[in-house]
Structures are given as structure tokens and as C-alpha cells.
Symmetry: C2
Subunit: 329 residues, 2 copies
Amino acid sequence: MNLAKLTTSDFLEGIYANNVAIVSKAITIVESTKPEHRVLANEIIAGCISKKYDTIRIGITGVPGAGKSTFIEEFGGMLTDFGKKVAVLTVDPSSSRTKGSILGDKTRMENLVKNPNAYIRPSASSASLGGVTRKTRESIVILEAAGFNCILIETIGVGQSETAVHDMVDFFLLLKLAGAGDELQGIKRGIIEMADAIVITKADGDNMQRTDLAKMEFARALHMFPPKENGWTPEVLTCSALEKKGLNEIWELIDNYCKNMQTSGFFTTNRQQQNENWLIQYLEQELLSEFYHHPKTKEMLPQLKKEVISGNASPFLAAEKLLKALKEQ
Amino acid sequence: MNLAKLTTSDFLEGIYANNVAIVSKAITIVESTKPEHRVLANEIIAGCISKKYDTIRIGITGVPGAGKSTFIEEFGGMLTDFGKKVAVLTVDPSSSRTKGSILGDKTRMENLVKNPNAYIRPSASSASLGGVTRKTRESIVILEAAGFNCILIETIGVGQSETAVHDMVDFFLLLKLAGAGDELQGIKRGIIEMADAIVITKADGDNMQRTDLAKMEFARALHMFPPKENGWTPEVLTCSALEKKGLNEIWELIDNYCKNMQTSGFFTTNRQQQNENWLIQYLEQELLSEFYHHPKTKEMLPQLKKEVISGNASPFLAAEKLLKALKEQ
């Protein structure tokens, strides 16, 4: 089949049949910035979105060096042993790392990349978080229509991307490395509160004592947080991807979470809420982008900002001046 | 003087002279929703904003019952003993409580209300957080131009209002009650991370052991957080407003914080950043409000939302449909 000449129904047929070459091509179309590809992408998404399977979307975050790739390699492999079809996406809007990570992820996950029940797709190379977010969300729609029922979404916990990933998953996992001097490792404020579970990685060999201590300290810290709205109390686990220890317990925890949330109805309402958020966020992002690209805004805003920052103009009056100028256009 | 017939320069003269009746009237003008008052309000703000004094803005949050009013009564009184001029504002967009709090705050702060160097102003009764936020920010501008150099801004820590208050202050204080069964007391997730200090209140009598334990537990929990960008490590203190214990230590901590942040330059850049944020937030809020009030949006959005929530339409395609319809108007 000539992949370059596929019609929308060729794409949909291929996706429904879990044809990985066509799935890949469809994601490339979604990632493309060419207008003619956008039309095709919209048709593909429209054809995929109504396919309903039971799937689980798991976000995985942690600073570089926390062992994300090694964890995903072993955890993803285990899930395929359980009969799951696993897709791995990465969200990372920082282009410099993206360029390296295509090769990097694939070599660091050398078993998973050869696994017939797994599919690994590195981050789209769009520079903006909004762009990457949209592409990732649309890729999830395609992958789920293709029958992948475990979607692992990896992100690096240093920017805004982990909030974006948190907003597109059912379960959010924070990987931490113990014994790196302190337990903080520059992780962004707020991430700990988003986590449904914290996993202390590299719990093997000499490191065992440190991981046990870190586990205790985090469990104590989590205890100080208010309960989540869904009633879930985040847990702290340890694992060794090297010795393949603790992975099964992590899956059991996630599976238990899903069963609980399906029973309570939160699983469904959370996804519905996420869908609505995507709509609203995208609308507002487009509206504001138009405003900031308006010639009048570009002309007036820098000077107004300067006056406001120096404390010589009221922020509200400055805003009203600009809004009035826009209306008089 | 007939307060009803004041001109802009009457207002400004009175404010500069710390005439409390005129300050009150000016805040009422700022809070008014009448268009003719808006013009006057804008002129007053423009005349006040360029007045530059050294002031400190302190946000104080905590759940109902945490002892905010009693704390502010004693803490504010102490600050006037130190020669400060203290103004107290409350931010509370929930109208039901607002209606009660005008009387409530004044009777609960019976000494402060009679103190010639203190000024207490309960929340504006606007229903929207955006409205209350603007009015509070403009009230701060007026109060500082009138020579109040300690602005205490009280908020109830259960909604979005504490984030709004955090964005308008130099120092953010979280009051907690120990021994209320658990340490969580329904406080909103994320507030602990915003606090520059946590104060365990009612550290007196039988309660001492519980407050000491709570202090230790919070200090341990705070230790698990990543450091703040300004390098400040939040501290946990205890106080008894009843026995007037610990209040001096809290002021010393805040004063020490201010001196540190003035030396590092963070104090100034933080206020500049807040000014810029106010401009941007207000602009975006006005633009989005216009969008949501547009007849086309009102006509199309509910149905699009329904399709998106049920998973039968892509959020992105739904958004594009609405944006296109707006452009074709």
C-alpha cells in the first residue's frame, strides 16, 4: 500500500485493524502543520473518537535521571505479558530534548520497541505546549481506536507539561529517586499534590535503605495533604526496574484505583470533565492567541506593560485603554 | 463637607491627608457598579497609584474557626503599637457570608475597630471573584496613598479567593487550628504550598500539647516541598491571640522576610510581576467574558459541550466549528 495516497477510509480501516504502519502515518498527519493535512487529520479524529473501548491512560512524570525510561521499558513489558496492548507517548515541548529523545527513547527501551504488543511514539516536535498537548490528545484518540488499551504518557517534571499530562490521564504516577542528597531534586511545586501514587525507583542493592527511608518520609508528607475530591489517598511504593521488583504491586494499585473509580463513577465523570476542559481550553487559547497577534495589541501592549510594571499606571485603566482601542478598529 | 458632591481633587486631597471618611467614600465609589462612578473611580485610582510609600501587604487565610478575626484583632493592634497604620480588607466572594461578615468582623474586632490607627473594611458584595479582586486591588491603591503602611487581607481558605489574595500580597500567612481531629480541616489543596508561614493558632491552656505536635508535623511536611523560587523556606509558628503570645515572633518573621526580599530584589520584582499579572489577567478576563456573552456562543456552545462530554465529538473540532461561526458573523 502506498502510504502517501491513503484516503480517510483507508486510514480508518487500517487504524481499526491495528495496522501499526497506518497508525504511525495517521499520527504524523495529526502532527503536521500543513493545512491540507489538517483537513485529513480532522476526518481521521472524527472517525476514531466514537470508537469506545475500555482503556487506561497513565501519566508518568519525574525529573531526568529518575528512571522513567527504564521503568516504562519494564512496566510496559509486564503489561503486554498480561495481554494488554501498550502505547507509549512522550510529552516534552522543549525542542532541544525532543530532538535527542527520538533516538534516546527507542534505544533506552530496546525490548519494548521490539515487542509486537507495544508501540512507542516520541513527542511531536512542536515548540509550544498547546501544540504538543493537542497532538498528544489526538494521538491518544487514534491509538485507542486502534485497540491500544494501556496508554502510558511520559513527561519530564520541570515545566507546565506535567499539568497538561495530568489533565489527559486517568492515573498520575510520580517517579522519585531516593538518596540523591535530598528528596526534592528540583521537582516543580504542585506535582506532589497531583500524584495518585509516588514510586521510589532503583530500590535495589546498596540503595534499599535510602528508598525505604524516602518511602516513609513521602508517606508521612502525603498524609498532611487534604484528601482528593475522589476520595483516593495517594500511596508510596518502591520498585526496582533492574531486579523487576515492585512492578506488579504498582499495576495492582492502578488496577485497584480504576476499579474503585469505575464503581464510584469518578472514572467516567473525570474523562467527561477532561473532554469539556479540552474544548474550553482550546477555545480560550485560540481566542487569546488571536488577541495577542492583533496589530493594535502588538502596538500598544508593550508600552502599557512598562507603565504598569513601574507602578505609574493602574493595570485596570491600562487594560481598558487597550480594549477601547480594539473596539474602535 | 458634603461627601456626595466631592470632586476628584477633593477625593485625592482627602486621601492624601488620611481622612478616613473620604477614604471610605472613595472605596465605595470603586465598589460601585454605576458607570458614572466608574469614571470617578478611574480618576481617583490614577491619582493614587503614583504615590509611593514603603508598605507591606500581608495575606491571611484559614478555614472558618481557625481564628482569623481574633488573630487580626490582636496582631493588627500590636502593629499599631509599633507605630504602623493598619488597614484590614476581607476578600470573600461568597455573598451569603459577606452579608453576615460586615457586622461580624466589626464586632469580632471590637478593639481594632476603635483604634485610630486602624481601618477595617469588609469585602465588597460583588458576587464574582473577578469583581471582588479588582475592587480589593483598587482599595489597596487608595489605602496606601492614604498612608496605611500595613495592609492585612483576610480570606477564607476554601475557594479560589486565596489564590487571588496570594497574587496581591507580599507575604502569605496560613492560620491552622491544631487538635481538630486531624490536621487537614478541609483546607484546599495547594494552599500549603502558597504559604510563606504557617501559624498554629490557639496555642494556650490545654491545647499546648496539640499545637506543639501540629507544629512539628507541619514543619516536617514543609520540609518535603521544593524550595520557593525566592529562596525562602516557610516556617511554622504557634500563637495565642488570647494570651497575646507568639504575635511578636510572627511580625519578626515577616519583617525579616521583607528585609531579605528587599535585599535580594525579590520584593520589588514580585510587585512588578503582580502588576503585570493584573494587567494580563484583567485583559484576558474581559476578552473571554465578551466571548461567553456573544449570542453565537450562547447559541452553539451548550450543544457542542454535550457532544464533547459524551465523547461523540472531538473537542478540537467542536471548538473550530464555533470559532468559524463567530468569524462568519
